[in-house]
Subunit: 101 residues, 2 copies
DNA sequence: TACATTTGGACAAATATTGACCATATCAAA
DNA sequence: TTTGATATGGTCAATATTTGTCCAAATGTA
């Protein structure tokens, strides 16, 4: 299990690149990249796609990882029970049906 | 399975109260209450507690229902697979351990 | 030490969300 | 069908949240 930040940090280190280089490629400040790597900030979908392209990984997977991060942090923030996510899963299906039928 | 909005609407109708009365008690506009009932707006935690008190239901349960709603809508919004919520659940536990250990 | 890399904090800018207001729609009884 | 009450919808300013920049401080490394 890894977070979005850990993932992109790992990808960067596999290539032996400093934040400076990756940040330059992405056209952002190094301190911002550092924040992404520690999940202090969440990059836009567009930037995630750029990151995926840079490291040649599947962009959808990276987007999903960012989304699961975001939701996990919400649960932590609210100090809620993670089992609520099972309720949420059922609710998604319920709402889908409601929208269609 | 019910959404937060459906729940509070149901509670209101069980008491045969018009939105006008409930909104007055909560000190909000009726159109705002109508939006809560259709999940067009999300009430603050403070207001949820007021609502729980009014209908004499457990406020934590109502807060949880609002949270699962919010997450479910996020998944729908992103057109993501609801199974991602299982990943998120694991991630919560992972992050908890990371914060402690 | 000197230099590169990474992190932290404060704050303005950009985004997103909410609530108020008012018009319109729906409904029920007379 | 009119009347009056109830509920919904749309717009927009106010509020709240999130982001990105800037710069300082810390960490690492030769």
């Amino acid at each position: 299990m890894t977070t979005f930040g850990e993932t992109i940090k790992q990808l960067r280190e596999e290539q032996n690149l400093p934040q400076r280089k990756v940040a330059a490629y992405l056209d952002i400040d190094t301190s911002l990249l550092a924040k992404y790597e520690r999940n202090v900030r969440q990059p836009s979908k567009e930037l995630i796609i750029k990151i995926a392209a840079l490291f040649k990984v599947n962009s959808e997977a990276l987007i999903s990882e960012a989304l699961t991060d975001k939701i996990a942090y919400q649960i932590l923030e609210e100090e809620a029970d993670s089992k609520l996510l099972r309720v949420a899963e059922n609710k998604v299906e319920y709402l889908k049906k409601q929208n269609n039928g």
